[in-house]
């Protein structure tokens, strides 16, 4: 396992949300999703295959994403994932929840002694 793996720093349950968000932009294959997460998070989240694949499986089983074998730009076969309607709804809800929570947490962390 790569030492740079920051997966453990990921708040539990957020990986699913991030994958959904990535797929909301366009359908993508497994490796692409990993790379995209890496790029967008500017290297903060490097998610390895051991976490990605279970997540794909989980999301697929829950009907939030669907998979399809397609040919990539450089003519290779790859399994592409795309968001379903249910996935889109879940993402919207998860995003809303996350923003509320994150804002609350941030407020608490910023609080000065006088406020507490």
């Amino acid at each position: 396992m790569a030492p740079a793996d920051k997966q453990s720093a990921l708040v539990q349950g957020t990986l699913d949300m991030l994958i959904l968000k990535t797929l909301a932009l366009e359908p993508m294959h497994g490796y692409g999703i990993g790379v995209r997460l890496d790029q967008i998070s500017r290297g903060i989240f490097q998610v390895n295959a051991g976490s990605l694949f279970p997540a794909f499986r989980r999301l697929e089983r829950d009907g939030l994403i669907k998979a399809e074998w397609r040919t990539t730009d450089n003519n290779r076969r790859a399994k592409y994932y795309a968001l379903t309607a249910a996935g889109r709804a879940r993402l919207a809800r998860a995003t809303r929840d996350w923003e509320t929570q994150a804002a609350a947490i941030a407020r608490i962390l910023r609080a000065s002694p006088g406020e507490i």
Binding site: Y31, A49, G50, F53, P54, R57, R61, R76
Partner: protein, 913 residues
């Protein structure tokens, strides 16, 4: 996501594991390849890129493992792990496992056993083609009376002619129940069945060997060979399964018949509870029974008639169809002349009704439905007690596993994961109990059915463990597993999460408040349920006892009853011929016979009772329906044979003949009812016979005899009239009658051989069978005996379970409080105080349980009313006895562990922590 599609994908995943594996492999390869390409683009050599990519992805197998775990089907894997874990745990405590599995095997097995009989009697459909389209032809009145209608041959003929309106019609009768296969002398009985020509083909029962009947076998009044179809059981018993049984001849009631076919083993006949051995066509009945009136309007009505509805035809539609033709049918079958006018009027007014018959008909079902369902309810309650016991045992186990569970929670096991594990353990126990229980059920079901048979009925019931019984057992197992597993599982979780905390003295953790309350509640429930069962058992045992105490009005232990069939006798067998006298003399000549008498009927013989309406001349004016009395024709010596006491007047005498004035002896009930209890000797009674017979003479009462039981032990004494056979003038045939013998000493069974020889030498055409009056009396109590036996068994089982439960809980409490007791003793508490404290807690719980149980029993027992006899459902003696027994058992069982507590050495107790 809808649950269903989620389940489907899960199952598909399980089924298509291999394909999914390949899919995953390929996807991972693509992933790796993409990574390599990416790295090569940034200038790495392919080799370096490959190595870096491999290092990045880590172990491929680990990735695959994680991925596989993500689906719900991996839950099954985790269940598998839990099962293995639970098995290890159970193996570690073999004592607990044995007690638990045995308790459950008995509890579940008892339920399955009773259910298998209920299934065989009430639920199974006949093993014939399309049983759901079968319907019995009955009438409203006969249904109201609780029996199906019987039809005579003439009526059946009418239905038969209209069979094309339906998908066919068939008829059968079990009368005369047994055929006699002997050539001479004592009967060699076989369970007989007369059926119509299309019976087997219509039902779709094809022969195992040979053929079944053809319509021409069933033609009436033709000189021909009589065909017989035998059952598989009879074929095995009689011919050892020899294939050349076909074509062999048998003597049936002294007439030759030829075996033409054997039915398959699954088919026992149209009536559930009975198994025919030998079937003959109805058309052969007049010859076989030597009954010339068979096909005439006055022929007896004992045929059951069944229709097969056409596909799509409803029962109501078919009923309406028949009702529209009811007039024609009856008119054709019973020409309106003479005495039939009245009968015909009655029949016209009684509408024809079709009843569903997919499960066949059954006399046994009518008699045993309620007792069986009651016993099933009792068995279910016993299982409930067993469940409570198990819950208590598991609760104690869970508490002692607290630490293990705390560790598991601490390292991240979810609440569900722990619940799952606990439930898996309890379900495993109940599954083991259930599989053993199926064995108990197979044995118990057979034993139960064997108990149903009496001297009169050979009961054969198919109680094999079919899918219904297995499904029932499975359902019960899951229900019990969840029932007794849930409470301990939740408590265990509770304990583990909140932690029992550390008790102020010592490091041993204490029980949570909830666990203590739960345990108390379970004990109360257990005691209460057990008490209800003990009360029910007490009521049934007392009922059986009371029936045994019913004054019979005769001695049963010395009497041998010989049922004589004289239908083949060459002598004139009508009553006035007096041909019975020869037999009576022959029997009286046998050494060891003290008294002998001939009669039309004997008590408790399950035979037909003759009744006549009477009017007491100068007696009370009774409403029409109240004038009925039993009539028995007897010879002098009858009262002596049965040991019945003449209370006033004289018995019948040899001097009462055709030449003298007709006399009768009546019983006390008759005197009471018809004359209001006056002295009745010297009064006259007049038989009221409808129809065109001669007005019979009034009969002079010469004596009064004490009341005696007629057919049922449950009814109060009914009026009865005893008339001398010699004075009976109507020329009715007496093909069947009884010869009752009283042995001078010893068992009357010893007389059979010499009586048999004497009767055969008197008339070699006679057929006869021997019955001990004692057996017949016992047979009359069979249902009550069975219910008393079963409920008593379950009552004792419940007591035992309650005792085990109380013992276990008291032991547990004592063990948990070992240190406290040690300290008390060290501080100078008396041993008696320690016992009192330990017993006291259980005593309080038991008392609450007993009070709740008494209340529950008072509510429940009213539903048992119709099954009881001689006691009320609230019989005080039974209730008090049950409560005392339960309290005594409870105190005894908790005294033992309490005593043990006093032997605790304070030093050891304190050091052990």
């Amino acid at each position: 996501m809808p649950l269903l599609s989620r389940l489907l994908t899960g199952f598909r995943a399980l089924l298509r594991k291999e394909r999914d594996e390949r899919d995953l492999d390929e996807e991972l390869r693509a992933f790796l390849e993409a990574d390599v390409e990416q790295r090569m683009q940034s200038g790495m050599s392919r080799r370096d890129a490959l190595r870096a990519a491999r290092a990045h992805i880590g172990s491929i197998e680990a990735v695959k493992d994680h991925t596989r775990d993500a689906g719900w089907e991996s839950r099954l894997d985790s269940v598998g792990r839990d099962v293995r874990y639970a098995l290890r745990g159970l193996r570690r405590s073999p004592g607990f496992t044995a007690v638990a599995v045995l308790t459950l095997a008995l509890g579940i097995g008892a339920n399955s056993a009773v259910f298998s009989v209920v299934n065989g009697l009430l639920l199974r459909t006949l093993p014939v083609t399309a049983p759901e389209r079968l319907a019995m032809i009955s009438t409203q009145q006969s249904l109201n009376d609780g029996f199906g209608a019987g039809w005579n041959f003439a009526m059946w003929d009418q239905f038969h002619h209209r069979a094309q309106l339906f998908d066919g019609a068939i008829a059968w009768t079990y009368f005369p129940q047994q055929f006699d296969l002997a050539d001479t002398g004592e009967s060699d009985p076989a369970d007989g069945l007369f059926v119509s020509g299309e019976f087997f083909s219509e039902l779709g029962v094809s022969p195992l060997l040979g053929r079944t009947f053809l319509p021409e076998d069933d033609e009436l009044g033709k000189e021909r060979e009589h065909a017989a179809v035998i059952s598989y059981g009879f074929w095995q018993r009689r011919f050892g399964g020899a294939p050349d049984a076909i074509g062999r001849q048998l003597m049936v009631n002294r007439a030759p018949v030829t075996i033409v076919g054997v039915t398959p083993p699954g088919f026992l006949g149209p009536e559930v509870g009975r198994a025919f051995e030998l079937a003959l066509p109805i058309g052969s009945a007049p010859v076989i029974l030597n009954e010339r009136t068979w096909a005439k309007p006055e022929g007896r009505s004992y045929l059951a008639v069944m229709l097969r509805l056409k596909p799509g035809q409803t029962r109501d539609g078919a009923s309406a169809l028949l009702r529209g033709m009811q007039h024609q049918i009856i008119d054709a079958a019973m020409p309106r002349n003479g005495i039939w006018g009245e009968v015909q009027d009655d029949m016209m007014k009684d509408p024809i009704v079709l009843t569903p018959a997919s499960a066949g008909t059954s006399e046994l079902r009518r008699q045993y439905s309620q007792p069986l369902l009651t016993v099933l309810a009792i068995a279910a309650t016993v299982l409930l007690v067993a469940c409570v016991n198990m819950a208590n045992l598991l609760l104690a186990r869970a508490t002692s596993r607290q630490q293990e569970l705390q560790v598991r929670l601490a390292i991240g096991a979810s609440r569900w994961r722990i619940l799952q594990q606990m439930l898996v353990e309890s379900l495993l126990l109940s599954a083991m109990g259930a599989s053993l229980g199926l064995g108990v059920a197979a044995w118990g079901g057979r034993t139960l059915v064997a108990q149903l048979s009496t001297w009169f009925d050979r009961i054969v019931l198919d109680v094999q463990l079919d899918w219904r019984v297995v499904a029932f057992t499975g359902g019960v197992a899951v229900a019990t597993g969840v029932l007794f597993g849930m409470a301990p599982a939740i408590t265990a979780f509770d304990l583990a999460r909140h932690g029992g905390g550390r008790s102020p003295i010592g490091a041993r953790s204490t029980d949570s408040r909830r666990a203590v309350a739960l345990r108390g509640g379970l004990l109360v429930a257990q005691v209460a349920l057990s008490l209800v069962l003990v009360v029910a058992a007490g009521l049934f045992v007392r009922t059986f006892q009371k029936l045994g105490e019913v004054p019979l009005g005769f001695d049963s232990d010395r009497v041998l009853v010989v049922r004589v069939n004289a239908s083949r006798s060459t002598a004139d067998s009508t009553i006035p011929s007096g041909s019975y006298v020869r037999l009576l003399d022959a029997a009286r000549g046998v050494p060891g016979v003290a008294h002998a008498a001939v009669s039309l009927n004997t008590p408790v013989n399950r035979g037909v009772t003759f009744v006549t309406d009477f009017r007491g001349v100068g007696g009370r004016d009774l409403p029409l329906k109240e004038r009925r009395s039993i009539v028995n024709l007897v010879t002098p010596g009858w009262f002596e044979t049965y040991g019945a006491a003449i209370t006033v007047g004289r018995p019948l005498q040899e001097s009462d003949t055709k030449a003298t004035a007709p006399i009768v002896v009546v019983n006390e009930a008759f005197a009471q009812k018809f004359f209001g209890g006056h002295s009745v000797v010297g009064e006259y009674i007049a038989p009221e016979i409808r129809g065109d017979f001669d007005r019979p003479q009034p009969l002079l009462i010469v004596g009064v005899v004490s009341n005696s039981v007629d057919q049922s032990l449950r009814y109060e004494a009914v009026p009865a009239v005893y008339q001398p056979v010699a004075q009976f003038t109507r020329p009715i045939p007496m093909a069947e009658f009884s010869l009752s013998l009283r042995a001078a000493s010893g068992s009357p069974a010893a007389l059979t051989r010499s009586v048999s020889a004497a009767l055969t030498s008197a008339d070699r055409h006679l057929a006869f069978s021997f019955h001990l009056l004692e057996d017949q009396v016992r047979g009359a109590r069979n249902q009550e005996r069975l219910v008393a036996w079963l409920s008593g068994f379950f009552g004792v089982l419940a007591l035992l379970l309650a005792a085990i439960g109380l013992y276990g809980v008291t032991s547990y409490i004592v063990a948990r409080r070992q240190m406290e007791i040690g300290i008390r003793l060290a501080l100078g508490a008396q041993r008696a105080d320690v016992v009192r404290v330990s017993v006291g807690q259980t005593a309080i719980t038991t008392t609450i349980g007993v009070v709740v149980g008494l209340g529950a029993a008072a509510i429940v027992t009213r539903y048992l009313k119709t099954l009881l006899f001689g006691i009320t459902p609230l019989d005080a003696a039974t209730f008090v006895t049950a409560a005392v027994v339960l309290m005594a058992v409870a105190l005894l069982t908790c005294y033992v562990p309490a005593r043990r507590a006093t032997r605790i050495d304070p030093m050891i107790a304190l050091r052990s922590e």
